[in-house]
Subunit: 348 residues, 2 copies
C-alpha cells in the first residue's frame, strides 16, 4: 500500500510529495463521459460497482496517491427528505428550498447504515481494488445549507445570509442538523474503510470572517470533535478562504486545503507546521502549455520548501476541459521531485 | 459642495465618514425599475438626460456623499467594434468572443470625444444638479478582457486564463489595447467634470497573485500613470483581492476598494496610511434586521479607528433585493458618527 498520502496528512516525511486531484473522476475523462452517456451522475454514485469503477479508474489512469470516493455532496440529503436534481452545467437544484425553522424540523435524521449502504458497499469494492488510500467526503454544513436555502448554486448567497442574520435560531438549527448528518456520514465512511475524509466547505469564502467565526465555526468544531476519535485524518477545504485561515487553523483538522489565491508559502507561514496543507495549483493552469504547468508546480513545491505535510492538489476541482494526459504528466512530474528539492526546477 | 468624499480620497480629515454605494442607482430602487420598464439599460446609459436622472436621483434619495455616473463597464467597448447585449439577470453577452491576436487587431482605438459624447453630456447635466462630487468609472483591463474572451460572465475564467498562458503576446496585446481605451475614457470623464474615477477590476480576484503581478499589474501601472496627471483621485476596486493587496498597494492609486472578506483593520495594517480605503460591508448584510446592519457598520468604523482616508461603502454592488430605506438609514447612521468615535457603538 502506497502510504505517502496518509503520512503527509500526519505531517510525517515522505519520499516525494503525494498528489491527488479534487474531482479526479469526472467529465474531463473520456471513459467517464462514456459512462455518463448511459447513466446520470446520481445513478453512478448510487451503484457500488459503477461508483467503484469510476473512483478506481481515475486513480489507475492518473497514478495519484489517493482515491476519492465518486459521489456528490448532495447524496446524504436525499434520505433526510430533500428532493433535488443535479443538472449538467448548473449543479444541484433543490425542489423545495428550506427557509424557516419549520422546514428544518421536517428534515429526517440521517442513518447512514440504513440510508447509504450503497456508499459502504462502494467503499468495500474500492478497497479491494486500490493500492492507495481512499478518501471519503461530505459537504460542510454552511455549503450544504447554501444549496438548501438558495435552491441551487448562487452568486451572492443572499437568501442564506439573510436567514442567518434574521432568524439566527432557525438557521443555527439547520446547521446543527446538517453537522450531525455530516458527522454521522463521515464516521460511517471511516468505519466502512475510508482512510481519510475531506469536508468540502466550498462556499464559506462568501462569508465575512466574523460571520464565519461566529455562526459557522462552532458547528464545524463539534463536527470535527465528533469525527476525530475515529482516527482517520480530516481535511478541510474551502474556496477563497485566505482571510478565514486564522479561524480554520483553530478547527483541529489534520490538513487544510488551500485554493490558488493564497501563495502556499504565505499560508504555511500563517498556519505553522502543526497542520498539513493541501493544494494549490489554479485548476485553469493545467490548460496552459506544459512548461507553464511545470513551472507553476515547481513554484508550489518550492514555496513549501521541503517541509513534510504537503499534499499536492489543484486549488479546486478539475475543470471539464482539462486534458487527462497533462494531469498524468503533472503527477509524474511531482513524483520525480524528491521532497526538499522540489523547488530547484523553478529557479534553475 | 460637500467635499467629504474628495477629502477622504486624499487622506484628509473629515467631520464624518463619507458614504456612497457601488451600484447605488439600480434595480433595488422602485423609480429605477419604473424607468427600466420603458428603457433598456444601455438606452438609459446612452441618453444624457435619463442617465443624469438615474445618477442624481440615487444621490438625492440616499443622501450619499458622492454620485457615480450610471453606465456599464461594457459601454466603451461598443465603439471599439465589440457587439454585445446586456441580459437581465445574466450580464453582458458578447456576440463574437475575442480569442486571438487577429481579433484584437480588429479592435478600433477608442476616441471618447467622438464615440462617447453622450457620457460627457451626462456628466455636464449631473454636475449642474449635484451638490456632491461625481465619480466616473471604467472596467479594469483584465475584467473587460474576461467578458470579451469568455463571451459573458464566467465562473472559472478558463478561456481567459488559457489564452493568457498559451499566447502571452496576443493576450498582452488585448490588455494593452484595453488599458489604452480605459485610460482615454477615464481621462475624458475627468476632463468633462468627473471629480474622481474608479477602476472596476471586479474579477481580478480569480487570478493567483503571481499571475496578477506578472501579467496584469504592468498594464494597470501604465493606466494609472496615464490618468494620474489629470489630478482626480483614482479608486481601484476588485472582489476577493485579499491576497493581491501587496501588489495593488504598489499601483499608486489614491483609494483601494475592499470587499467584505478582508477585515478593514487587517487591510489597513497591510496597506499603511498612505492610501485611503473604501468599503467594506457585505452587500448581503443590508438584508439583515437593522440592529445587525448597525453593529456591522459600527464594527467597520471601529476597525478603521478614526483614521482619515476611509470611505464607507459596501464590499460590492447593491443587491437588487435591498430595501432602499435601509440604505438611507445606513447613510444617516454613518453620518451621525463623528470620525474617531465611530467604534463606540460597536462595543458599548
Amino acid at each position: 500500500m502506497n502510504d505517502r498520502f496518509l503520512r503527509a496528512c500526519r505531517g510525517e516525511p515522505t519520499d516525494v510529495t503525494p498528489v491527488w486531484f479534487m474531482r479526479q473522476a469526472g467529465r474531463y475523462q473520456p471513459e467517464y463521459r462514456r459512462l455518463r452517456a448511459r447513466y446520470r451522475l446520481l445513478e453512478l454514485a448510487r451503484d457500488p460497482a459503477l461508483c467503484a469503477e469510476v473512483t478506481c479508474g481515475a486513480v489507475e489512469s492518473l497514478g495519484v496517491d489517493a482515491a476519492i470516493l465518486f459521489s456528490d455532496i448532495m447524496v446524504p440529503l436525499e434520505p433526510m427528505g430533500v428532493a433535488f436534481d443535479i443538472r449538467e452545467g448548473t449543479g444541484p437544484v433543490v425542489s423545495a428550498p428550506i427557509r424557516r425553522a419549520a422546514d428544518v424540523e421536517r428534515l429526517r435524521p440521517l442513518e447512514p447504515e440504513r440510508h447509504l449502504r450503497f456508499v459502504g458497499e462502494a467503499i468495500h469494492r474500492c478497497r479491494e481494488r486500490l493500492a492507495v488510500p481512499l478518501i471519503g467526503f461530505a459537504g460542510g454544513p454552511f455549503t450544504l445549507a447554501s444549496y438548501l436555502v438558495e435552491g441551487g448554486p448562487s452568486r451572492d448567497y443572499a437568501a442564506t445570509k439573510r436567514w442567518m442574520w434574521t432568524d439566527p435560531e432557525g438557521f443555527q438549527l439547520l446547521l446543527e442538523r446538517l453537522s450531525e448528518a455530516v458527522a454521522a456520514f463521515l464516521a460511517y465512511q471511516i468505519r466502512e474503510g475510508a482512510a481519510a475524509v475531506q469536508i468540502f466547505d466550498s462556499w464559506v469564502g462568501a462569508l465575512a470572517p466574523e460571520d464565519y467565526a461566529e455562526r459557522v465555526l462552532p458547528h464545524l468544531r463539534r463536527l470535527v470533535q465528533a469525527v476525530r476519535p475515529l482516527g482517520a485524518p480530516i481535511i478541510y477545504f474551502g474556496v477563497g478562504t485566505a482571510t478565514l485561515l486564522p479561524w480554520i487553523r483553530t478547527l483541529g483538522v489534520d490538513v487544510i486545503g488551500l485554493d490558488w489565491r493564497i501563495p502556499l508559502g504565505t499560508a504555511r507561514a500563517q498556519l505553522g507546521d502543526q497542520q498539513a496543507v493541501q493544494g494549490n495549483l489554479d485548476p485553469a493552469a493545467v490548460l496552459a502549455p506544459w512548461p507553464v504547468v511545470a513551472a507553476k508546480a515547481d513554484a508550489i513545491l518550492a514555496a513549501n520548501g521541503g517541509r513534510p505535510g504537503h499534499i499536492f492538489n489543484l486549488g479546486h476541482g478539475v475543470l471539464p476541459e482539462t486534458d487527462p494526459a497533462i494531469l498524468r504528466r503533472l503527477v509524474d512530474w511531482v513524483h520525480a521531485r524528491p521532497v526538499g528539492e522540489g523547488g530547484r526546477g523553478a529557479h534553475g
